[in-house]
Symmetry: none
Subunit: 129 residues, 2 copies
Amino acid sequence: MRIGEAAAAAGMTAKTLRFYEDSGLLPEANRSSNGYRHYNHESVTRLEFIRRGRAAGLTLAQIREILALRDAGEAPCTHVQELLEVQLAALDQQIAELTALRSSVAALRATATAQPPASCDPARICSYL
Amino acid sequence: MRIGEAAAAAGMTAKTLRFYEDSGLLPEANRSSNGYRHYNHESVTRLEFIRRGRAAGLTLAQIREILALRDAGEAPCTHVQELLEVQLAALDQQIAELTALRSSVAALRATATAQPPASCDPARICSYL
DNA sequence: CTCGACCTTCCCCTATACTGGAAGGTCAAG
DNA sequence: CTTGACCTTCCAGTATAGGGGAAGGTCGAG
């Protein structure tokens, strides 16, 4: 299949496929005599792998690393597990920080709501914020 | 205090402070007669707020919006309160999305961990990801 | 034979959040 | 008086993940 079809099958654009090829996530595509890239089912599987990795929050660099291991004939499973552990820890950290920030903003709102309307003088900086 | 000292106090670089000023996250700094910016404790508090927001995954645009509420001298307080509500909702949304992503990654890890090593066939893309 | 939908390469642009470095001014210490 | 550590502005580059659009080649349908 040609690039547009493969891209659609993987839920991406042709532009993205060329970008992935340039970025080393895809091998250089086979070309027909007219120079068109063509892809097979395996290519689409690889693209879906990339898409799922992105959806899981992996960077293209991380995905490239996994694919490189696979292409070298080495089972990436241990490496994938390590990457997932790292990703989980990062997410936990991020969620904790965001939750703390939410508390801060909620406190601001609580203070703002508790202010008597009379203190809301447009000429003043709303100091409770 | 001068820019380097304020930056160090907030765990940033002087470059970043100038960038934040240009980006509208900091008001134009007061200058000494020699043109040096100078800052006070309040400035550092603001910088720390920004840093916490960044650590929590907020964009500078989001932080700028929250800070604009702090600075909203002319805004009617009801409007300020509305904006705080919007910010809170945005934070809740962001926390929900991160939490969903975390579940997704945790599920991937669980599947990966449960895979018998024998199924990690180099000829296959790790199908559990 | 032309039309439209594809495809190609090429280069530049987007947004985010800085970072580096050049060229020059300021200031306290030795 | 010079040195070095600051500070100033301005211009340019980095990394990420693509997107826009030009200029041109290819192909099946009408």
